[in-house]
Symmetry: C2
Subunit: 199 residues, 2 copies
DNA sequence: CGTCGATATGGCACAACGTGCCAGATCGGC
DNA sequence: GCCGATCTGGCACGTTGTGCCATATCGACG
């Protein structure tokens, strides 16, 4: 996966960011995002309010690092596929390689709680959709690198479809109580979206 | 389209809401969302700050009524199709009936300016995606009414695909300078998404 | 026409948000 | 051990969004 890629300082920073994210996730799932002050997150994380806003652009954004974990790994895996490969199979393979990995299993429970809370909380839902939008935007150049001579609009649509596949499957997975990883569902959604839904 | 459906009071309310939205759109495209205070919007609209927040949940949300116009008309048209119809053709027909209508032509320039500004403005982009998310959520029961015995996950995916078709086509249309209505592009996107993109 | 209940509006106060600024602390390299 | 760079905390400040109440406007009814 990712070895000793970043500098020590940088890794410490992402570590504290994840720590803050988990604390914020706990408070958000307990009292909702509106019922949680930024100061309480900072206090629970053991940092000052000013420092909290250096790690998070917005109070709600504090949980974003948790939500991006899976997508980041997935895109990194996809970026490693050689140019000229067929896109949809490459996307599926990247899903298998990352969405069921043991790395994110530790954070999947957080994700489930957050997505469930996001169903009733507009602010949390906004973060979830912002994360997906960012993922879709960062996905586009990766797809273009794999298939350099494809039509750009088609690539945009494929990026939207793949992002939707992951999003819808994760939302569906969060709604259920099963322990099964959401990989199979994601692959099924992707195939449905890219091979026709029928009327 | 919509006759004398709502009460007079209600129509006055939506009218002022649109008025505020156009004023806010002008200010946002000129100085950006971050560079516009809620008070300046209220002043330009001739209302007090307190009243402004009665019409708009958030400063950025002030432009939402403009962005929802097309989607609302489209969903209303789609909701009128009889149960048992084939979904994708029904969606296409609703696109033809609404996205090129003269009603929204008046507000399309606003839309273009807003979408262009949203490319560089995270807050505006968040509103745009919130509007699409709402549209997708409200689309689901309509689809379920047309095809009562369809699998729900398939319906969710189709709702996501149709929303993406409109979203991506509008974003693409906003990026170009052509006067052509975005209908044809939307239909093409929908067909690409529902009939397979190829690898 | 006049009265009354309901709704819309404005003004005020207030907690919370997010940022600029500066001072002290902490870390890394020579 | 020293020094520059980065991280952190505290403070002040403008802005956001809301609760509360007083006033004004609107619609219905006698």
């Amino acid at each position: 996966m990712s070895g000793t890629s970043a500098s020590l300082t940088e890794r410490r920073r992402t570590a504290t960011q994840l720590e803050i994210a988990r604390v914020a996730a706990q408070l958000f799932t307990d009292h909702g995002a509106a019922g949680t002050t930024a100061e309480s997150i900072a206090e629970a994380a053991g940092i000052s309010l000013r420092t909290f806003y250096r790690y998070s652009r917005t109070k709600e954004d504090a949980i974003a690092p948790l939500l991006t974990l899976g997508g980041d790994a997935w895109r990194a895996e996809l970026a490693a596929t050689p140019p000229g490969s067929r896109l949809v199979p490459a996307i599926e393979q990247a899903m298998h390689a990352t969405l069921s990995a043991a790395d994110i299993d530790h954070d999947l429970p957080w994700m489930r709680g957050l997505l469930r809370a996001a169903e009733d909380d507009d602010d949390l839902a906004a973060v979830w959709y912002r994360v997906n939008r960012d993922s879709e935007a960062r996905l586009l150049p990766i797809l273009a690198q794999i298939a350099p001579d494809a039509d750009e609009l088609d690539l945009r649509l494929l990026a939207a479809a793949a992002t939707d596949a992951i999003r819808v499957s994760l939302e569906d997975w969060a709604r259920r109580d099963e322990a099964q990883a959401p990989v199979d569902l994601a692959v099924r959604c992707l195939r449905s979206l890219t091979r026709g839904l029928g009327g």
